[in-house]
Amino acid sequence: MDQLAAISERKKAILSSLALLAILLAVWQLTTKPPIQGKAEGLPGPVAVAARAWEMISDPFYDRGPNDKGIGIQLGYSIGRLLVGYTAAAFVAICLGVMLGLSPTFYRALNPYIQILKPISPLAWMPLFLYTIKDSSRSAMMVIFMSSLWPILANTAFGVAGIKRDYLNVSALLQLSWFKRLWKVILPAAAPAIVAGLRISIGSAWVAIVAAEMLIGGTGIGYFVWNEWNNLQLTSVIFAILLTGFVGVVLDMGFGSLAKVLAYKE
């Protein structure tokens, strides 16, 4: 009975979502003016955006010079930068987080610095990165690095510090080497907290990359949005905005399923 009720609840939710979508699209279409003699006035409507979206999706990988690349290529640049900056941040943050979690003294010593650095907008670092690295794409990766670092670091330290004494006792009795202690006990025990941090920071990293690419220009979905705005191609801007949302959901879902795999019941 409960299962049946749950299924019908889900059905209701899906139907409501679809109805809401239909209403939103209808309101959007009705409140925007249709193009007069091919020239749009005000915001483009959903039909115009859909037509433009279809055009871009059907040829995503064309490359006609620096200011005219397919949406797939732009997205590829953004995801590439995200992966490099994010992976580096995850590695550094997990290593450092484990050390902080295991040593209360180290944690207390570093905490003031973390507290000051954490609230800084990752984009604020951009001028310094551009000045020191002298490469706009790598500077954008560093922005991603800064935006991902803190949530992963904080969650890892929290997760490791909260590992049950019992598990560490077992590893002490078995005289596990530090490497085995890390892989077999500490990381699996803290995994749910670490993945929660990874999940938060992939979201903030994806938010930051769009802004960073608007600043650095050249390539990427952020640059694409800015460039299309300069061209007054609002249909492309709206489609690109929706697309970043979609990619964000996919990234989040990936970590959602990873969290399920690594969760454990005591």
Binding site: N169, L173, Q175, K184, Y264, K265
Partner: protein, 282 residues
């Protein structure tokens, strides 16, 4: 010289308010090789702390632990603990939990040998069908079987049992006690156990160490349990000697309990005196 010597061990905790609290003092206990010794006492007498000190998981404030002629103050594979709350790693299956210990204890073995050995112990505790289950999917009794298998598989010099049956339901408890006895008979391990359960202590032990109440608890006396082995629960509980030991220990615990208005039997020394007096009576 005994196999395991607890030499005048004391434990003092520093409380948050800066005062120091002596849990127990100058405990001196010698355990011979292959002996099963149980410590009985009220909560707060520090018996689990003493067990952790022997295991090397906590440090003594004074005194020393000497195992097989060598002083030891860190944890090691020569002393395995079976914990009250099982302490299995919840992200590993039954098989993996035992394998982690086996690989740690015998790093020179190849995969095949480790696998066969782990399976033997999984089988020994009757968990072959559940070997790929996670601890969360098992009952308390089954979890403690894994705990026993893990500890025995390492073949430690000393087995330390910290109230191993306290969290297991009464119906299963007997079966697992029998299991422990069987494994112990086969291996002739030296065992130090800590428990609240007087009947359990009499059934399993060669000697029972009685602690007075904490703080500043002391080892009051050691009761010999000389029933022949293998022991059968049904037979032993019928014996007059069993009833006598049980009554004696329970009386001892009552007399040194702080809640009881038992005259001035609140300090360690008085409790010993009361204990001796009782011994004379029975």
């Amino acid at each position: 010289m005994s196999f395991l010597e607890v030499e005048n061990v004391s434990k003092v905790f520093l409380e948050p308010n800066g005062q120091s609290l002596c849990v127990f003092k100058t405990v001196r206990l010698h355990i011979e090789k292959g002996q099963f010794v149980t410590m009985v006492g009220h909560s707060g007498c520090g018996k689990s702390t003493l067990l952790n000190i022997i295991a090397g998981l906590e440090t003594a404030s004074a005194g020393a632990i000497i195992l097989d002629g060598k002083e030891t103050d860190t944890a090691g594979l020569d002393r395995m603990v079976v914990f009250q709350n099982f302490s299995l790693l919840p992200w590993m299956s039954v098989y993996e939990n035992i394998r982690l210990a086996v690989r740690a204890a015998y790093p020179q073995w190849d995969r095949g040998k480790v696998h066969d050995y782990v399976q033997r112990y999984v089988h020994m505790v009757g968990l072959s069908e559940s070997e790929h289950k996670k601890p969360a999917a098992l009952s308390g009794g089954m979890r403690q079987r894994v705990g026993l298998a893990r500890a025995f598989a390492v073949q430690p010099k000393v087995l330390l049992l910290d109230e191993p049956f306290a969290q297991i339901d009464a119906l299963t408890r007997g079966a697992i006690q029998d299991e422990l006895m069987r494994m112990w008979t086969a291996t002739k391990n030296t065992v130090f156990m800590v428990t609240h359960d007087v009947e359990e202590a009499i059934l399993l032990s060669d000697k029972i160490a009685l602690m007075t109440s904490g703080p500043e608890a002391e080892l009051a006396e050691i009761v010999d349990v000389k029933f022949p082995r293998p022991r059968l629960r049904e037979e032993i509980t019928e014996l007059a000697e069993y009833a006598r030991i049980k009554k004696y220990i329970i009386q001892f615990l009552k007399n040194c309990s702080r809640e009881m208005p038992a005259g001035d039997a609140t300090t360690g020394l008085d409790a010993v005196a009361v204990g001796q007096q009782l011994a004379a009576e029975v």
